[in-house]
């Protein structure tokens, strides 16, 4: 995807992470998209016996710069505008196509990925490549323009939805004016629901990214809340609730449950101390590192528990100035 890098370079700005992500998505697309999805399939063709001046007319009327030559439904050659120029120089427009067409045909397969065509273009210095199907029959023609168009269309399809979501979400705090705006997410977590364990955390991480959180902040919150979510699933009697309060300057995450409660909170905070069953340990959890992990990810963690009543875990992350969600200007003086 040389041309895209050049494009960015020429615009004279530094390639941001966002650009880099898009470039690599373009590369991915060049593997994902099939040649058949981007080629022009309604192809004008000519026959070897057709006089050159008829071809001239076909190229002119259709505003194209080359055509495949078909003989008995088989690809026999390619005639490009350069061939036509050579012919005109010699004043031989009455001669048949056969005399001027190029018989050295480089074609690509319709079922190959677009990257195959990109490679062929850079190797062969051709302006267009005929596309053939499994049976070797001509099914289309592909130019660099077709590839650019195809990839741009796919990118647009691809990005439109997620970008729209991100755009809408990232302006949430800017669009709403109040003395103190916060967004609250709640999730009900079922006890022993190992299969869905982590789903709420996954939603929370995605929400933060859409709101414009830095990847590092989203990761920090994700890890902390995931450990807390697993604790609800593993240890509680009736499951519990996750509540995440997102404010421009901080994120407050909280889990609550109604039992069984922790006998010795100090012990629970000791690295390696665990009451988890073998079943839970077999899943890779219950090594007594969860709360320790959470502590490392957040600025403040508070664990309150009453045996027989329940447990409340509070986790707070204060956002650094560069991490803060954008607010409206006039609310910046608010506490």
């Amino acid at each position: 995807m040389e041309s895209l890098h050049e494009l960015h370079g020429r615009r004279g700005r530094i390639i941001t992470d966002q650009d880099a992500r898009e470039i690599s998505r373009v590369e991915e697309l060049s593997y994902d998209l099939k040649i058949s999805e981007v080629m022009t399939s309604n192809v004008k063709t000519v026959s070897p016996e057709m006089p050159m001046n008829t071809v001239l007319e076909i190229l002119r009327v259709n505003r194209i710069s080359g055509v495949p030559v078909l003989e008995n439904d088989q690809l026999a050659g390619i005639l490009s505008i350069e061939d036509l120029v050579r012919c005109m120089e010699k004043n031989e427009l009455h001669l048949p196509v056969r005399q001027y067409m190029s018989q050295k045909i480089v074609s690509v397969n319709a079922y190959d990925p677009v990257v195959k065509a990109i490679e062929t273009f850079s190797k062969e210095r051709k302006g267009r490549l005929p596309v053939i199907d499994e049976a070797g029959k001509l099914v289309g023609i592909i130019t660099k323009g077709d590839i650019t168009r195809g990839i741009l269309n796919a990118l647009q399809r691809d990005y439109h939805e997620e970008e729209l979501r991100r755009y809408r979400a990232s302006h949430l705090f800017e669009d709403i004016t109040s003395d103190r705006t916060s967004l609250i997410l709640r999730y009900n977590i079922k006890a022993r629901d190992y299969l869905n364990g982590g789903q709420a955390s996954s939603h929370i991480k995605r929400a933060l990214l859409r709101l414009g959180a830095t990847p590092q902040l989203a990761r920090q919150c994700g890890i902390a809340i995931y450990e807390a979510e697993m604790n609800l699933i593993i240890h509680t009697t009736n499951g519990g609730i996750i509540r995440v309060q997102i404010e421009p300057h901080r994120i407050l995450m909280q889990t609550t449950d109604d039992g069984p409660g922790i006998e010795d909170v100090q012990k629970a905070l000791t690295p390696g101390w665990s009451t988890a069953s073998q079943e839970v340990r077999d899943m890779g959890f219950g090594a007594g590192m969860g709360l320790v992990n959470i502590q490392r990810c957040v600025d403040r963690m508070e664990l309150e528990s009453t045996p027989g009543k329940g447990t409340k875990l509070v986790m707070e992350i204060i956002l650094r100035p560069e991490e803060r969600f954008k607010e409206t200007d006039d609310s910046e003086s608010a506490p």
Binding site: S24, Y194, G197, G284
Partner: protein, 119 residues
């Protein structure tokens, strides 16, 4: 090294080939304790593990792990593969054991992305 190149080094099979293998890997980690992964791994790592349950994928997602290699030819159940595909995380199964895999990848230039516990 990107995921595609890793697949060759570990002589592995990709279990969800519809996912992109172009992600660049900055290093690796080997663990069966998911809390260890969550505690110690820096972003953009490959995770080598003997665990096959769905939490491996969730853990990878939270810790920004970019690929998971299952050791000794283990194959995760269908729901694990389905979640990984949905989240865009390539799953690879390799015939080699954890020790051999760490050695191969280290030799191929992939270093540890694990932090010591004290950090």
């Amino acid at each position: 090294m990107n995921v595609q190149q890793l697949v060759e080094v570990v002589e592995g099979t990709v279990l969800n080939p519809q996912v992109s293998l172009k992600h660049e890997l900055k290093g690796g980690c080997g663990a069966d304790l998911m809390s260890d992964v969550l505690a110690s791994v820096k972003p953009d790592a490959v995770l080598l593990t003997g665990l096959c349950n769905i939490q491996v994928v969730r853990t990878a997602q939270m810790a920004d792990v970019r690929a998971i290699v299952f050791v000794r030819g283990k194959k995760p159940p269908a729901d694990t593969i389905a979640l990984a595909t949905q989240e865009g995380i390539p799953l690879i199964t390799s015939p080699f054991g954890m020790f051999e895999l760490c050695g191969r990848l280290y030799q191929a230039g992939l270093h540890s992305l694990e932090d010591p516990v004290s950090n």
